[in-house]
């Protein structure tokens, strides 16, 4: 039943399905609607830490009922893992990937998460240290970093691979890229790939706040308004980001596999590159970023001027945006490509960011419209950046888009999507 392991080096990989749970919507219609008007889902969130007074933080929560997701194992799921399963189910439905209709030995699952199981882990710590109650038998399997990929693999009976990637904010971009490589290399024919992250727990939020990367909120009646505008990527008054929770999954296939089963191709994954800055644990490095973008272009066989939209990493930190503006200008030239950062509306989704932002870039491709950067009205004049602001910008003939993910630890990952051929 197994098809021959034929190398498909350099070939585009077909994306035939997508699923999303995000602060801006849990289906493509809702997602698109918020994306193209730049409507922020960021809200003020109080930190419930017994005995510790901390100011509230900006947070982008997803409307999602984790209890409604039934695990293949029927054990309780971490909230992030429940999101992962829900999006994998939706992507498979979208791709019409029915059980028994594919060779399970040729199906792999590739999943990214920075801190999979974080919510359960923190609750577990509270159980022991604050509530003085016992650990549960399922504590290990709900908090292990490969829990999402394991549950998805169980759901679909995947026999080809089940690999978890933890490289902070690049996790899901790397997972998708590595799935693409595995298909190109002929190791598998089909993959479920993406990422999830849900760690909006008091301890985790307070840890990010302690790093001073979360935008401080205004006091009193201005608090909610300041929360909605907390993340202002590439603007002169940027002051940090909001954390969000989300998951996004894609079904990836070799072009011939998609064709053979008559699947509709949503878009092609044409290029991927990952590298490492090798410079600093948190500081971004424009040189490493530019190398990653150029390598992804080379992988796709495209020149820089073929890219019609770039969904930037754009976290709205002072140094992060400056480095990325510099690296983008180095690759594309001054004002050389339309750029936006949708983190303005869905927050920093950490390990899920690469997957959700690839989805945003692919929706731009499908609609030939470029999503704005929330309600940011101008780029910092220090940057030579063509920032998409105001209403969505029409981009007739848009054929290729890029998505950047740059992580703590120095991992850079860049994905390029193109219009499905024929």
């Amino acid at each position: 039943m197994s098809s021959t392991a034929r190398s498909r080096v350099g070939a585009p990989v077909a994306v035939t399905g997508a699923g999303v749970v995000s602060p801006i919507g849990n289906d493509l219609a809702a997602f698109d609607e918020a994306l193209f008007v730049g409507r922020s889902a960021v809200r003020a969130h109080a930190l419930d830490l017994p005995g510790i007074e901390l100011p509230p933080v900006p947070v982008a929560r997803s409307e999602f009922d984790a209890a409604a997701v039934i695990a293949p194992s029927r054990v309780p799921l971490d909230r992030g893992t429940a999101m992962a399963l829900a999006t994998a189910d939706e992507a498979a439905r979208d791709a019409r990937l029915a059980p028994g209709r594919f060779d399970a030995e040729r199906l792999g699952v590739f999943w990214g998460s920075g801190m999979a199981g974080a919510t359960t882990f923190e609750l577990t710590c509270r159980t022991v240290y604050a509530d003085r109650r016992r650990m549960r038998p399922t504590s290990v399997v709900t908090t292990m970093p490969n829990a999402p990929v394991a549950e998805i693999a169980l759901r679909f009976g995947a026999r080809g691979a089940a690999l978890a990637y933890a490289c902070a904010c690049a996790s899901s971009a790397v997972a998708i890229g590595e799935a693409m490589r595995a298909i190109r290399a002929g190791w598998i024919d089909i993959a479920i790939a993406g990422g999830s992250e849900s760690l909006l727990t008091p301890g985790v939020l307070a840890s990010w706040q302690a790093m001073r990367v979360l935008t401080p909120l205004a006091a009193g009646t201005d608090r909610e308004a300041s929360a909605q505008r907390a993340c202002r990527p590439f603007s002169i008054d940027r002051a940090g980001f909001a954390l969000g929770e989300a998951a996004a999954a894609f079904v990836l296939e070799s072009a011939e596999h998609a064709r053979a089963r008559g699947a509709t191709v949503r878009f092609d994954l044409a290029g991927y590159a990952t590298n490492c800055d090798g410079v600093h644990i948190t500081n971004p490095d424009a040189i490493g970023q530019a190398r990653a973008m150029r390598a992804a272009l080379a992988d796709a066989g495209l020149s820089a001027d073929a890219i019609g939209y770039l969904n930037a990493h754009g976290t709205a930190t002072l140094s992060g945006d400056a480095a990325e503006a510099e690296s983008i200008a180095a690759v594309f030239g001054a004002n050389g490509v339309p750029v936006s950062s949708t983190k303005a509306i869905h927050g920093h989704l950490l390990g899920a960011g690469g997957a959700v932002e690839l989805l945003a870039a692919s929706r731009a491709l499908a609609a030939a419209r470029l999503p704005p950067t929330g309600d940011v009205d101008a780029a910092d004049p220090a940057f030579a950046l063509d920032l998409v602001t105001g209403p969505a910008r029409t981009s007739t003939g848009l054929a290729a888009v890029m998505s950047n993910s740059f992580a703590f630890g120095g991992t850079n990952a860049v994905l390029i999507a193109t219009r499905a051929r024929g």
């Binding site: 039934i70 194992s73 029927r74 054990v75 309780p76 016992r134 549960r136 038998p137 399922t138 399997v141």
Partner: protein, 91 residues
Amino acid sequence: MNPSTFAAVSAVLVEQFRVDAAAVGPQVALDQLGLDSLALMEFVFAVEDRFDVRIPEDRLDPRQAGVTLEQLAQLLDEAIAGKASRDVVNG
């Protein structure tokens, strides 16, 4: 077996572990519920927590074949009774 204990056990199975109510009865064995060993241990934790009691490990291994829900409910009743007498002593 106290019927209210069994009713609580059934409710945990149906509500938390998505076991079909029609498949739950006193003579049904734990290993016939369609739950794996890990889920069974989680289930026993859940019913113990509902009554705030502990069944001693040497009295029950939920992975052991053939242990029925009635036996589980009886062990819970014993634990509940033991707790009640302790509460009286500790007054």
